[in-house]
């Protein structure tokens, strides 16, 4: 596509992300089942739910990593299948797993991202410096990432995802395995991005405190479907006057233990928890 061309104009009132009956099957397993939702521009939107509820699968489809089985979705106004390239240019993605390369320095990781997104050469140095400063990593830029702490790696990954000034940032479990201090630093970084860059932020989380503190709205997923969507306060009110978000979670997911995501997922979660920790 030629530079500057727009296939679909998206204004400030159009949803940043919208899905309609989006589904993904793995053989007989329905991981995401006809999900329809809208995320508004400038919102911090949280997906909550147990392991295997379909959060990560949904996010993989929205970031073009995984093709849907059926249904449709638009991200930043672009169709996730027909306009995958445009979607990729419009979003930043911080995977749950460790995506910064430990064998490179912080600066080199940022340089790699800047080049993959073809940020013009004359702007590269300045944008990298800005991102480092914003994520409070300037002093550690020339150290190998394998010597970083978990919180620093997370902040570096956020810096990498925002270099190309995306409209939308997608983060899978942004603070899993971090100590409280590092967790708050990541929250501050996410809030700062929303305030200064007017970014829309979509996160998945297991952490009800994070969902409550950080998110404007939440969608609770169960068995691949969305059970309920609303602001944290609203959801709590619906369950009871004194209800916490944990109560909301228990109320909608039921007392039954959800089928776990299996060995592979457990292994990945633990590994990434270890590496970030």
């Amino acid at each position: 596509m030629p530079p500057g061309a727009t296939l679909t104009p998206s204004s400030d009132t159009d949803p940043a992300i919208s899905t309609s009956a989006l589904s993904r099957h793995f053989g007989d397993l329905v991981a995401v089942d006809k999900v329809s939702l809208s995320v508004l521009p400038g919102e911090i939107f949280g997906l909550i739910g147990s392991n295997g509820a379909g959060k990560s699968t949904l996010i993989k489809m929205l970031t073009t990593l995984l093709p849907p089985s059926s249904g449709a979705a638009r991200v930043a106004g672009f169709d996730i299948i027909a306009q995958a390239g445009e979607v990729r240019r419009s979003i930043g993605y911080v995977p749950q797993m460790l995506s910064a390369d430990g064998a490179l320095t912080g600066y080199e990781n940022l340089l790699l991202s800047a080049r993959l997104y073809v940020i013009p050469r004359r702007e590269r140095a300045q944008r990298i410096a800005e991102a480092l400063a914003m994520m409070n990593l300037t002093r550690d830029a020339d150290r190998l990432v394998q010597h970083y702490s978990g919180g620093m790696i997370r902040r570096l990954e956020i810096a990498q995802s925002m270099l190309h000034r995306p409209k939308i940032l997608v983060m899978d479990e942004p603070t899993v395995g971090l100590d409280p201090l590092a967790r708050h630093a990541v929250w501050d970084a996410i809030r700062a991005l929303r305030e200064t860059r007017r970014m829309t932020i979509l996160i998945t989380t297991h952490d009800m405190e994070e969902a409550d503190e950080l998110c404007d709205r939440l969608a609770l997923m169960r068995h691949g479907r969305i059970e309920i969507i609303g602001a944290p306060a609203e959801l709590k009110r619906q369950v009871g006057p004194e209800a916490t978000l944990d109560d909301v979670f228990a109320h909608y997911t039921g007392v039954d233990i959800e089928p776990e995501g299996g060995y592979q997922q457990a292994r990945q979660a633990r590994r990434s928890a270890r590496e970030h920790g």
């Binding site: 990593l65 979003i91 993605y93 073809v118 000034r165």
Partner: protein
Amino acid sequence: MAKYSDISPVTDYATQVLAVADAELRKLRHDPMELLSRAVQPALWLVLFGQVMAQVRGLSAGINYLDFLAPGILAQSVLFVAIFYGIAAIWERDLGVLHRYLVSPAPRTALVLGKALSSGARGLSQAVVVYGLAFVLGIQVSLEPRHVLGIIAFIALGSALFCTLSLIVACLVRTRERFMGIGQMLTMPIFFASNAIYPIRLMPLWLRAISRLNPLTYEVDGLRAFMLRNGVSTIGIGLDFLVLITTFTGFVAIAARLYPRMGE
């Protein structure tokens, strides 16, 4: 809105290919031990295997066996370095580093070509080691500029080709354990069903036919013509090059199709 480069799609593409290759080479610079450890194997082959096999009469008919062997060992060490890329790709996938590449707007062929290019550069560093060994062993190495250029071209192309093959296998098997098995199953036949350590004329007919389908045969033939002072190609440099470049192009197309599956 994300900014686009205002230069051209071609330079954008080159930037993305070089970004991937540069990251690989920077890792090598941070940890140069890898280069040293990779020098051991060709040394063993040339010094131990080569010295002993040079005594076998059928092998050294009319030629100095060490001269014959050196380009074959050069090709082998390049092959072994390149095959390592598949396991590295699986490692990157398990960690999550791969997802960073796959969510970027870089065309999938650019991602594959970047890896292939860095494999070419790694291969050239192997060449420096093998040339050094060859000097020490008194092998008649040619340093004529056009020969050196020929060597660079064939090594870069050969490493890129086998790196891409390795990426294809990685995309198909997806786990480190399976790749280890398949990798062994792949490199040994590629090596032995080629002209790397013995001439094709000594092979039984069925093996000759297989060796003709083996890209390594064409790489070794090219290296043999360019590395030695009076080296000759038995297949023809033009055909060697054509087979390698065609196979490489096909492999890149396949790898670029399969690569996104690694992120699913």
